[in-house]
């Protein structure tokens, strides 16, 4: 069954975030359909990470409405938003360095376990969470290094482990904040190959912030361009590439 095309899984309307005089997000409207890989691009300081923070509830919007799966989530605390099915990764790698990759992913899966507060369900919670975690590690091609401490993994594997942790939570939307940040050219190529394969196989709904245009054009179905907090273009990769305003923004000519 297909959803009606006008029903978006994630729907932002007039979302604004001000810091004093600075407008980090300016009336952002955006609709992400189920199964879509959407990239959000824009020059430094365009408001991409703020957008993620507002969606996940770590930053409250000054104005506007965010709906997720037909439910208003504006202003909910971040752990509740997360529990509704929005998982994210961070621009700067955030892991539990002394735990193994498996334990990292298991802790992620455990957060969604319905019995996680029951005092004597420990063995069962661990077992079920571990099953989800191992499946996610497999999806991201990390099974071979799953028993190593996360802090000792290569940077590329650490980035992928973060994606696996998000996936272990069985989210409905995955927010990836610059998944290739800080990777070398070869590492980036490898990570993007793995991500492309994984996205194709899983048909995950993804919102992706990325600096590297090659990565964006490789992974995204649709692109939203932010500039100084406002959406200046929104469309298929080819349309966006050809858009004069986008080219101006990236060359710094837009005022």
């Amino acid at each position: 069954m297909h959803r009606a095309p006008d029903v978006a899984l994630l729907d932002l309307d007039g979302v604004t975030r001000r810091y004093g005089a600075l407008v980090a997000l300016d009336q952002v409207a955006m609709r992400v359909e189920e199964g879509e890989v959407r990239a959000v691009i824009g020059p430094n300081g365009a408001g991409k990470t703020t957008l993620f923070n507002v969606i996940t509830g770590t930053v409250k919007p000054t104005a506007g409405l965010i709906r997720f799966a037909d439910q208003a989530i504006t202003g909910l605390p971040s752990h509740q938003i997360c529990r509704l099915g929005i998982s994210r990764t961070f621009q700067i790698t955030a892991l539990f360095p002394e735990m193994s990759a498996r334990e990292n992913a298991r802790l992620a899966a455990q957060a969604r376990h319905p019995r996680r507060w029951q005092p004597f369900a420990g063995a069962r919670i661990f077992k079920e969470a571990q099953a989800l975690a191992d499946a996610a590690l497999e999806q991201l091609g990390l099974s071979g290094i799953a028993d190593r401490p996360a802090g000792l993994l290569s940077h590329g594997d650490q980035r992928l482990l973060e994606v696996a942790m998000a996936m272990a939570q069985q989210p409905r939307v995955l927010l990836l904040d610059e998944p290739t940040q800080g990777l070398s050219v070869e590492e980036t190529a490898q990570a993007v190959d793995t991500l492309a394969r994984f996205l194709q196989a899983s048909r995950m709904t993804v919102l992706l912030v990325e600096h590297d245009m090659e990565v964006v054009f490789r992974l995204a179905h649709r692109i939203t361009v932010l500039h100084r907090g406002a959406v200046i273009a929104d469309g298929a990769p080819d349309e966006v590439k050809a858009d004069a305003r986008v080219q101006d923004a990236y060359l710094g000519g837009l005022d």
């Binding site: 996940t56 770590t58 971040s78 752990h79 997360c82 529990r83 998982s87 994210r88 961070f90 955030a94 892991l95 539990f96 360095p97 002394e98 735990m99 334990e103 298991r106 802790l107 992620a108 455990q110 957060a111 969604r112 376990h113 996680r116 005092p119 369900a121 420990g122 919670i125 661990f126 969470a129 942790m165 939570q169």
Partner: protein, 319 residues
Amino acid sequence: MSAALRPLLIVVVLVLALAPFGLPPFAMTLLTEALILGLFAMSLDLMFGYTRLVSFGHAAAYGLGAYASGWLLLHTGMPLLFAVFGAALLTGVVAIGIGWMCTLATGVSFSMLTLAFAQLLYAISFKWTSVTGGSDGLAGIPRTPGPFGFAALTSKIGFYYLVLACLVGAFLLCFALVRSPFGAVLRGIRENEAKTIALGYNTRLYKIAVVAVAYALGGLAGALYAPFAGFANTELLFWLLSGQVLIMVIVGGSGTLVGPILGAAFFMLMEHQLSSWTEAWALYFGLIFIAFVLFAPQGIWGLATGRLQMGRLRRASGP
């Protein structure tokens, strides 16, 4: 703790259980106090070692437990066992409030708030004379014998077994706790709290829960101390004790449960030995503490288990 260490711990518990048959009364008194302090230090390890919640006010738990059990024993005629566990429970309940307030802050501010609450209780212990006895404290605390044949626990040796049972029980509880899914979240908070929140955990609830358990067990230690010593005074709530118990945890090896118990015993031993040589024993113990922090941050237990594992590796790889 690896499975290989389990038999070792069982042997240690057996030796402790047999200790009254071999040790003179004076040594039994020291050993009883060491076990009480060990329980106290282990309770702090839940917060400090497993959750990286640095408390500068853990004496609040000890003192509150001591005053509560002392008051119950003096004024209600409650049997020893009920007074001790009642006091521990009370400390845990109070700690929910303290934890709720302290976890409004993080990092150093959290530590300062724990200190503030301990100092608040310290001030109350001076002023609320009708209940606490003011600067005199509570003296002459009896070990009221209880029903169901628990009267044996009130003798010197019987009380030692009560302390040992409390320590072993508390250890098993803590051990189960840190290896449970709940404990996994605590480790998550220790290593990266922001990420733990991002995964969808309400970390503050977990922190309040661990504070409550740590205070309840610290309160149990204090609740045992009052009828052990026969008194409870303001020193049991003083910041000096909060600092000393932190030192016991660090010297023994934080995040290991066993380490802090050893740390407490080591601290008592050092205090006893050094103070018989010099009045400035705290100065020399301070040097020992600095040496541990610089050269053996994993503590006594870390050193011991590291040596064991190295030995096993050498044997495994040897000819």
